[in-house]
């Protein structure tokens, strides 16, 4: 049975804002993030120049999109809009198609039916302005590479073939590292960091690319509390600078905290809209197969231990 | 992995290696012959070349032999010592007829600039009896290709020794008379060998004078002493050609139909194939201590330490088995 709880031992989740009696949520709320050590975080670099207004446009538009591997359709009926600067959470059990959808937005898998438009272009054409954050444990911990070198990789596309990174690139990379709170670890080997810290480095790499759209594949999986706070803080500053974000996650509470809109998937789109609407018991039940319960007006997911 | 710790390990590694080398570095081997600056430095490729060179050159000549006894001359990689010897040599004695395919590269690498003597000069070279069809078109050696085992006919050995004498006289004219004298006494011994062999072979009943050897190395011997060459186990002048199934059947058939009584193996090749074919055909296999000296002489103290004793051994063995 899929687990959809935050990394607390408790097996129920309550929506934020619950009064008294509930155990203090382990997640950091936006106002708490400011008080955390990441308070000195500089504004994250963004794809929009200082004087350029974040265009009141659309970051990603899904138009009844369906995605297939060969003959088998793995995801269908994805329909909705993510405005520029907004944050979209992808929710669903394992195998629901969250990663597939992210790959489709990246242009790595073709759209079989309907279309996906990214920054007013086809997905493959928009890659210059899109940055992807994979899960940290997909990467080799023994690789002899430093944190700083990895973050600098985010600049490669901007630097282009055959050219060396310049001073400005290094400055941008450093700023991105500062945004995730790991600037002092720049010279350390990637493998010497904890899982959560490695995830933050990968986020910094994406931020260094100054994207207009940021895609994160389950960034909170197995991440410790300190790193989770840092990730949330960084994501908040990224959002402030006008970059749109798509985050897939199991964690409903986090999804509610960070995103304006939620897309609930399970082989097909079940809901797409503001959290209050999409994270209601009905859609959750449809996605998770009947394990959603309402308790005291709040939507709750129960899992077996 | 903390980097500061890495440097000491690297330093220790290199230091350890240096210490090992320090142990190796010895005084270098003695240079040249005696103190006599005029003594020619001779490099001989095969065991036969070295043996003839010592016979004709006598004590005053320093001969460096490249191929050791028992080593296959068809395939050889020159060592640094070989190349060094070549670099400093006044005279190089080689067999020719494509036997030493590795020699050209060795000569150009070492920078040899002395006199080169090819022992096969003026020797009548046998070619494959089947005629031109067998010739490989991509031969590098063109017309020189043929049977290189010229030494098994003592008359050829005389020519080879004469060529060596010419070379020595060119390089060291002062001692030419001495070399000539050595050549004459050695030629007399070669004539004696020739007579002995002919006489011995004639004691074999004529219907049993059939020879089967490991590879095509006794062509000149067979021609000189009028034996019948039934075939060889590896039908090639080269020792490592692959044996095909058909070739095995061929030779077994020939052995049976010709009434051959023995199969002879060679000192520098493993006897396994000869033994397989011998048992297949039901004939005796001559191997081990008795094996023939075909491509190379034997080590010092063995029956084949010099040309004269090796050829005698071959004759005695062949006659003993076939008679």
């Amino acid at each position: 049975m899929s687990t959809v709880t935050a990394p607390t031992p408790a097996s129920c989740l309550t929506a934020p804002g619950a009064a008294g009696g509930s155990p203090a949520p382990a997640i950091a709320l936006p106002d708490q993030a400011a008080a955390a050590p990441a308070a000195e975080v500089a504004p994250a670099p963004s794809g929009y120049a200082a004087d350029e207004e974040a265009s009141p446009g659309i970051a990603v538009s899904f138009d009844n999109a369906a995605i297939a591997y060969g003959r088998a359709t793995v995801l269908r009926g994805v329909h909705g809009v993510l405005p520029a600067g907004g944050t979209l959470a992808l929710i669903g059990p394992n195998g629901a198609g969250k990663s597939t959808l992210i790959k489709a937005v990246l242009g790595l898998v073709p759209v079989a039916v309907g279309s996906i438009t990214v920054l007013d272009r086809a997905p493959a054409a928009a890659r210059r302005d899109v940055a992807y954050v994979p899960q940290a444990d997909t990467l080799d911990r023994d690789f002899p590479i430093s944190v700083g070198q990895i973050v600098l990789m985010g600049r490669y596309r901007r630097i282009g073939w055959c050219r060396r990174p310049g001073r400005a690139d290094r400055a941008t990379a450093l700023a991105a590292l500062e945004a995730v709170g790991l600037a002092e670890r720049a010279r350390d080997r990637f493998g010497t960091l904890s899982g959560g810290q490695r995830q933050r480095v990968l986020l910094a790499r994406a931020i260094a690319a100054e994207p207009r759209l940021l895609l994160l594949d389950e960034p909170f999986n197995g991440v410790d509390v300190v790193s989770q706070d840092a990730l949330l803080a960084a994501l908040a500053t990224v959002a402030e600078s006008g970059t749109a974000t798509v985050v897939s996650t199991h964690d409903l509470a986090l999804a509610q905290v960070i995103s304006d809109q939620v897309c609930v998937l399970n082989g097909r789109q079940i809901a797409f809209g503001p959290a209050a609407h999409a994270l209601a018991p009905e859609p959750l039940r449809a996605a998770y197969g009947g394990a959603a319960v309402e308790i005291g007006g709040q939507s709750v997911i129960l899992t077996r231990p | 992995m903390p980097t500061p710790g890495a440097r000491p390990v690297l330093v220790v590694t290199v230091a350890a290696l240096a210490a090992v080398l320090a142990g190796c570095g010895g005084s270098d081997a003695g240079e040249g012959a005696g103190g006599d600056g005029a003594a020619p430095r001779v490099v001989a490729t095969t065991t036969y070349a070295a043996d003839f060179a010592r016979a004709v050159g006598g004590d005053g000549v320093q001969v460096t032999q490249i191929l050791r006894p028992g080593v296959d001359p068809h395939d050889y990689e020159p060592s640094p010592a070989d190349l060094e010897a070549l670099a400093e040599a006044d005279l190089l004695i080689e067999n020719g007829v494509g036997l030493e395919s590795w020699l050209d590269d060795a000569i150009s690498a070492s920078g040899f600039d002395g006199t080169e003597i090819v022992m096969a000069d003026r020797v009548t070279i046998r070619h494959r009896e089947d005629g031109g069809a067998e010739h490989d078109e991509s031969d590098e050696h063109g017309d020189e290709e043929g049977d290189p085992h010229i030494w098994h006919d003592p008359r050829n050995a005389k020519i080879m020794a004469t060529n060596i004498q010419i070379g020595l006289a060119t390089v060291d004219p002062e001692s030419a008379a001495e070399y000539q004298a050595n050549l004459e006494s050695y030629s007399a011994e070669l004539d004696e060998l020739d007579r002995y062999t002919e006489q011995q072979i004639n004691t074999i009943p004529s219907d049993r004078r059939k020879l089967v050897t490991n590879h095509d190395s006794f062509g000149y011997y067979v021609e000189r002493y009028d034996l019948e060459f039934v075939g060889s186990i590896i039908p090639s002048f080269d020792t490592a050609a692959e044996l095909s199934g058909r070739a095995i059947d061929d030779i077994v058939e020939k052995i049976r139909s010709s009434g051959t009584v023995a199969v002879f193996s060679e000192s520098s090749l493993p006897p396994r194939t000869a033994q397989t074919i011998g048992s297949e055909a039901g004939v005796r296999v001559v191997a081990g201590e008795e094996a023939l000296y075909a491509d190379t002489l034997g080590p010092a103290g063995s029956a084949g330490a010099t040309y004269l004793t090796a050829e005698r051994h071959n004759t005695d063995t062949i006659v003993g088995a076939l008679r």
Binding site: R127 | L21, C24
Partner: protein, 318 residues
């Protein structure tokens, strides 16, 4: 002792061998770092077997001058083939590579065995003839090093990204198949350049060992590269010296190419022993610290140095 390290090279043939093995050693080691990062040792080995028929056919058609073009052609085809193979899902990649490499090798043996001077040619191809390299061979090696080196230098950031995070490289829009093909072709070029000197069997050692030893010594990429590129030529030099000394002073035959490989393996063994000792020492230090401090926090050997934020991201590799 310095006498031993220098005097052999008064002979021109030793000097030529030294120049060849130094260039080859440096080139192989540099490529070897990437081979290690990408775990392509088996593919490199497969390429050394696959080029063999190219070497034979080249030799049959054009003599010694024909070896390099023949080998290059087949190596290029093989590299392209292996790249394509990596993207198929139907057959297991290493099984398919094993079939291809043994098949090619067998073709080469069949071709060689039809010639008269069978074994001489065969051992030359397999083990090289380091002591008889001529200036043409050295030129070929130098040109290969220049071309391969330039390619690697220009594409180093992209090759690094692909090695570390192929999915990320793909997501960023890089043509991963093209990067892989380029690297495989560079490896093929190194194999071809090495054929004359150390032969196809030993080139794998020149490629793989320096990088492996360097990785044991350091976790920083630039350092790995520097150490590997120093170790390769150093082993070549020492191998030549040992082969010379054994032959000339001790009358022991020790083929030059094999001596180089033995030096490489010995260095690796020493480094391995050294680093095992070091981690054992670090562990026992940590254990002693723990028992002394009672239940104090465990400080592993990998503790990072937190020296206040760097003002600028350091100029490390790339």
């Amino acid at each position: 002792m310095t006498d031993l390290l220098i005097t052999p090279f008064e002979h021109p043939f030793m000097t030529r061998a030294l120049i060849e093995i130094v260039i080859l050693g440096a080139l192989s080691a540099a490529v070897g770092v990437l081979v290690m990062l990408r775990r392509l040792a088996f593919l490199t080995d497969a390429l050394t077997h696959a080029v063999f028929p190219g070497v034979v056919v080249g030799f049959m058609i054009g003599g010694t001058d024909g070896i390099v073009p023949g080998a290059l052609l087949v190596a290029g085809l093989a590299a392209a083939g292996f790249t394509a193979l990596a993207s198929t899902r139907r057959i297991s990649e290493d099984a398919a590579m094993a079939m291809l490499l043994t098949g090619c090798f067998a073709v080469g043996v069949v071709l060689v065995s039809r010639r008269e001077s069978y074994t001489a040619d065969l051992t030359g191809f397999l083990f090289g003839r380091l002591l008889t390299v001529n200036t043409t061979d050295i030129t070929v090696t130098a040109v290969t090093a220049a071309v391969a080196g330039t390619v690697l230098l220009l594409a180093r950031k992209e090759l690094l990204l692909r090695a570390f995070d192929p999915q990320g490289a793909h997501a960023a829009g890089y043509p991963v198949w093209l990067l892989d093909l380029v690297l495989n072709l560079v490896i093929a070029m190194v194999v071809v350049a090495a054929v004359r000197a150390v032969g196809t069997v030993l080139v794998i050692a020149l490629v793989v060992i320096p990088a492996a030893a360097a990785r044991l010594l350091t976790g920083r990429l630039t350092s790995v590269l520097v150490v590997a590129v120093l170790l390769g030529p150093l082993s070549g030099w020492l191998g030549l010296v040992i082969s010379y000394d054994a032959s000339v002073h001790h009358d022991v035959r020790l083929a030059a190419g094999a001596a180089v490989v033995l030096v490489l393996v010995s260095i690796y063994g020493l480094v391995l022993a050294g680093s095992a000792l070091r981690s054992w020492a670090a562990r026992s230090r940590a254990a002693r610290r723990r028992t002394r401090a009672g239940s104090g926090g465990a400080e592993g050997p990998g503790r990072p140095r937190a020296v206040g934020g760097p003002r600028e991201l350091s100029r490390e590799a790339v």
